[in-house]
């Protein structure tokens, strides 16, 4: 999980928060309610996750519960990877 959190954090910092303090983005920082992930950014993130981990996400995966924080994203990726196995 930690690896996934680190990867996604790097992606978000690089794409949407360049120059921001990495310490300010924690695994529990709200990503959707804080405006970091809007609908377009969410779709970009989906493309990143699918490409990075070789999994396929569905429209119903894109909610606050699954993508709301780095922690939740990591759990979603992990569960998808587990299903694939």
């Amino acid at each position: 999980v930690d690896d996934i959190v680190r990867d996604v954090k790097a992606y978000i910092l690089d794409t949407y928060l360049p120059g921001e303090n990495p310490q300010a983005l924690t695994p529990t920082t709200p990503l959707i309610t804080s405006g970091i992930l809007n609908s377009l950014a969410t779709l970009d993130l989906v493309t990143f996750l699918e490409g990075r981990y070789g999994l396929e996400l569905e429209a119903s995966d894109l909610d606050h519960e699954r993508l709301g924080t780095l922690e939740n994203i990591a759990r979603l990726v992990q569960s998808k990877l587990a299903t694939r196995k």
Binding site: T15, Y16, L17, P18, G19, E20, N21, A24, L25, T29, P30, T33, S34, G35, I36, N38, S39, L40, A41, L43, D44, T47, E58, A59, S60, L62, D63, H64, E65
Partner: protein
């Protein structure tokens, strides 16, 4: 252990604070009479419910909230209608859980929805009141989709308590327009943080909601101008700004609603976030009505995108965005159907959503190419670039909003005619607005507050801030304390403490009685709240067989011999086309005859044949009659009869009855019916029977309304089309605007003609200013003085309703026409005022008070 799961006794301090704040909330609602009386009752119930709820163990709180929500339905609708509302809702919930495939359940839900729609449209009789539909609709029309979506995608089964709480959630029963709360969010956020923090946030949002609602009242009463009355750039800018600012009511209600839900543990996200300060169109879409954006994103945007993304991200994003906006347009009409009836599909809506869609698509594509930079720590203190962008977006949205709110596209285009008329004061105010806008908009207001409570100075603590807002509102509302020091401010605040119609809506409602211009889709929430309860069979007189449309200068009159039920009362017309008992045309000896012309108030809309103003007037005068003299009052009034039409009817039929006095009655808004009637005559090509009047009308240029061709606004544009050989005509709104500019002259001409014609036939002309039940406006109506100047006796009856229980004098809550008691009261006052001019009227009555 999370605080939410801790024993409630550990939360006693915060709970007591919330209880005190809630008492302040109730006081503010009471003091400003916000929303309805039902709202105050429901809020009081919820306040008591909060105490019990907060002290219950966590496992019992949701079931308690469900029961409390169901109780609010019964409080608002009573046992009978409330029980039906709950039963119909339970039927829908039951279908969601039938042991059938999902597709079959969705099919059943659609079929049931269609049956409900038939009831909503009042095509089938039902044992419940039609008033339940807007609330039932708002509870289920969108939430059902989210609930079924959750049933499909979420493995956790909903409990009965959670389902009931979701659909019947308090305080939905007071708000037909309700945020589309997502089921998954509703479940996820329930006591997911410290309870005291959730309650504090809720109270802050409630205070913010109340503030928005009071600001809305100010905008509604003091900033909204009637587009038909605008004459310069300043008023135009004020109108455009005010139409967007009116949205404060929606954001106020939504903050209030989600704030209340916080008090029951639902830590729902914000519904609106500084939407006047959006810095791009995509940003605007994400800030205003966030729940709707989330609803469309979840059910339309993501599914559309995923279906198409193999064909390319850009194409998928464009199609998905278009689908969202097309869906929003259609669902807006669908929502309108449940809330107000009717299914409006209008050009303004299409243009508004279409243009906004194009702007958002371009914004999205730009964002896809170059993602906007976010910030975690806040940006610079002030940025010119941000200020310019934000002011630009605000101005554009104001323009779009004014188009969306306009009666018609051509009406919206026509209103820009007045932009050419700019005074230096207008330009200074505009420059000041621009500069002020830049100052405010350049600050990075969009930085969110920290999600978790952190140590803050006392004055920034949520509880302190919301209490300060509530106490501040109460102090502002206590006008008695400062009325002597600053009377204008006290009077202004006092006016905000009543839910009254502004001048524009009062005019619209007045028009609606007669001309069916109360287009439901353009009606303001204030008018709709009154009109929404009107039964479907309460139609305009012109839709009944008692009305006879004419093709000439006079639009219509009463059909001789007609007998109908109109507004639930018998309406009978005699052989002469009067709502009167039968009378011989020749005046009997010893009789003093008054011919009474006027609009619906005089005709007696909503009262029986024996309960009209003329009947009561005749009774009173005869009760006071001296020396065997008899009085007859002949009712020549017709609904929607303008003053100019009264002149025509005077010559056509009234004078043949040899009246001793002719009463011409109209309301303070007498110009509206005149403009409407004259436009009608011009459009139909009906001859104008008065050369003087025709000359006045020709000078307005409005005769171009009758040209054959395509309606095109602005003379210069029509001329351009003409050079290309394309036939055009003036559109109705432009002709109306031009005619309105001449309306005061037309009134003066009409009064003079009325006086001359009446006196030439030996009768006394009397102008009676009257109005439906309500308080008279503050403005002086020039027609009374002008009537007196032109030789008519002038009587002002508009103050007759003051100091009376007005609700007891109306024919219905949604219709301000006077009932029988109201007509009796008007007759009594009219006789008093006639007595004061008894000599001029040659009345010859005893100076005593009438009997009975």
């Amino acid at each position: 252990m999370p605080e939410a799961l801790a024993p409630p006794t550990r939360q006693l301090g915060p709970i007591a604070t919330i209880v005190l704040q809630f008492a302040l909330v109730l006081l503010v609602i009471w003091q400003f009479r916000l929303e309805s009386r039902t709202f105050l009752h429901v809020m009081a119930l919820l306040g008591a419910g909060f105490v019990v709820h907060a002290l219950l163990p966590l496992r019992l709180r949701l079931p308690f909230f469900s029961v409390l929500s169901l109780a609010t339905v019964l409080v608002a609708f009573g046992l009978w209608d409330g029980a039906f509302l709950i039963a119909l809702g339970m039927a829908l919930i039951g279908i969601c859980h039938l042991p059938l495939p999902l597709a079959a359940r969705v099919g059943l839900l659609l079929a049931t929805g269609a049956l409900f729609a038939v009831w909503r449209a009042e095509w089938l009789p039902a044992p419940w009141s039609v008033a339940i539909w807007p609330i039932l609709g708002s509870m289920f029309m969108f939430r059902l989709a989210l609930y079924v979506y959750a049933l499909k995608h979420d493995e956790r089964r909903p409990t009965l308590a959670r389902t009931l709480a979701y659909f019947f959630m308090a305080p939905n029963v007071c708000f037909p327009l309700y945020p589309v709360v997502d089921y998954a969010t509703f479940v996820r956020t329930h006591y997911d943080r410290d309870a005291a923090h959730i309650y504090e946030t809720g109270m802050r949002w409630i205070a913010r909601g109340l503030l928005h609602l009071i600001l809305y009242r100010f905008v509604y009463l003091y900033l909204v101008v009637d587009p038909a009355q605008m004459v310069n750039l300043g008023q135009l800018v004020q109108f455009v700004l005010a139409t967007f600012l009116l949205y404060l009511r929606v954001s106020g209600q939504f903050h209030l609603i989600t704030g209340v839900l916080h008090l029951f543990g639902f830590r729902l996200p914000e519904t609106h976030h500084l939407y006047y300060l959006a810095s791009s169109f995509t940003d605007f879409w994400r800030r205003i009505n966030i729940y709707w954006k989330d609803f469309m994103t979840k059910l339309v945007y993501y599914p559309s995108f995923f279906r198409l993304r193999r064909r390319g991200t850009r194409l998928a994003a464009i199609v998905a965005t278009v689908a969202v906006f097309a869906g929003t347009w259609i669902l807006h009409s669908y929502q309108w159907f449940w809330l107000r009836g009717g299914f409006p599909i209008e050009a303004q809506d299409g243009l508004f959503w279409g243009i906004l869609c194009i702007l958002v698509v371009f914004g999205s594509l730009r964002e896809l190419k170059r993602p906007a930079k976010r910030t975690l720590a806040g940006g610079p203190r002030w940025s010119l670039s941000l200020a310019l962008r934000t002011v630009g977006i605000f101005a554009t949205i104001c323009l779009l909003w004014s188009l969306w709110s306009a009666d018609s596209v051509s009406g919206w285009l026509t209103m820009w005619i007045v932009a050419a008329n700019a005074t230096p004061r207008d330009l200074v105010v505009l420059a000041a607005l621009f500069a002020g806008g830049l100052l405010v908009a350049g600050r990075p207001w969009s930085v969110r507050e920290p999600d978790v409570a952190t140590a803050q100075p006392l004055y920034r603590r949520p509880a302190v801030r919301s209490t300060a807002v509530l106490v501040g509102l109460l102090l502002v509302g206590a006008t008695d304390f400062y009325a002597r020091i600053v009377p204008p401010a006290a009077a202004m605040v006092a006016s905000l403490q009543r839910s009254t119609l502004n001048a524009r809506d009062a005019a619209l409602q007045h028009k609606g009685y007669y001309e069916k211009l109360d287009n439901a889709s353009r009606m303001s929430m204030n008018v709709w709240e009154i009109q929404g309860a009107k039964p479907a069979h309460w139609v305009a007189l012109s839709s009944t067989p008692a009305y006879r449309w004419r093709g000439d200068f006079v639009r219509g009159d009463l059909r001789p011999g007609a007998s109908v039920i109109f507004l639930d009362r018998p309406l009978t017309v005699n052989r002469w086309g009067m709502r009167n008992r039968d009378v011989p045309q020749a005046k009997p000896a010893g009789t003093y005859r008054i011919a009474f012309l006027g609009p619906s108030i005089v005709m007696g809309s909503g009262v029986g044949d024996g309960e009209t103003l003329s009947v009561f007037l005749e009774e009173r005068l005869n009760a006071m009659a001296d020396g065997g003299r008899r009085y007859e009052v002949l009712n020549f009034a017709v609904a929607d009869c303008s003053l100019v039409e009264q002149l025509a009817l005077l010559q056509e039929r009234v004078l043949a009855f040899e009246p001793d006095a002719v009463f011409f009655a109209d309301s303070p808004r007498l110009q509206g019916p005149i403009v409407s009637q004259l436009l009608n005559a011009v459009f139909k090509g009906a001859p104008i029977p008065y050369p003087g009047l025709e000359d006045l009308l020709r000078r307005t240029g409005a005769f171009a309304l009758a040209d054959k061709g395509v309606p095109v606004p602005f003379q210069s544009v029509r001329a351009g089309f003409g050079m290309l050989g394309v036939p055009t005509r003036m559109p109705w709104p432009e002709a109306e605007h031009r005619m309105r500019l001449a309306a005061a002259d037309v009134v003066r001409w009409t009064l003079r003609s009325i006086a001359e014609v009446t006196r030439a036939h030996g009768a006394v002309p009397v102008f009676v200013l009257l109005d439906n039940v309500g308080n008279p406006g503050k403005e002086v109506v020039p027609a009374v003085r002008e009537a007196a100047d032109r030789g008519l006796l002038a009587i002002d009856l508009t103050g007759v309703w003051q100091d009376h229980d007005q609700a007891a004098l109306r024919i219905a809550p949604w219709d301000n026409h006077p009932n029988a008691a109201g007509n009796r009261l008007m007759a009594a006052r009219l006789v008093e005022l006639m007595q004061q001019q008894a000599g001029a009227l040659h009345l010859g009555t005893r100076g005593e008070k009438p009997r009975g």
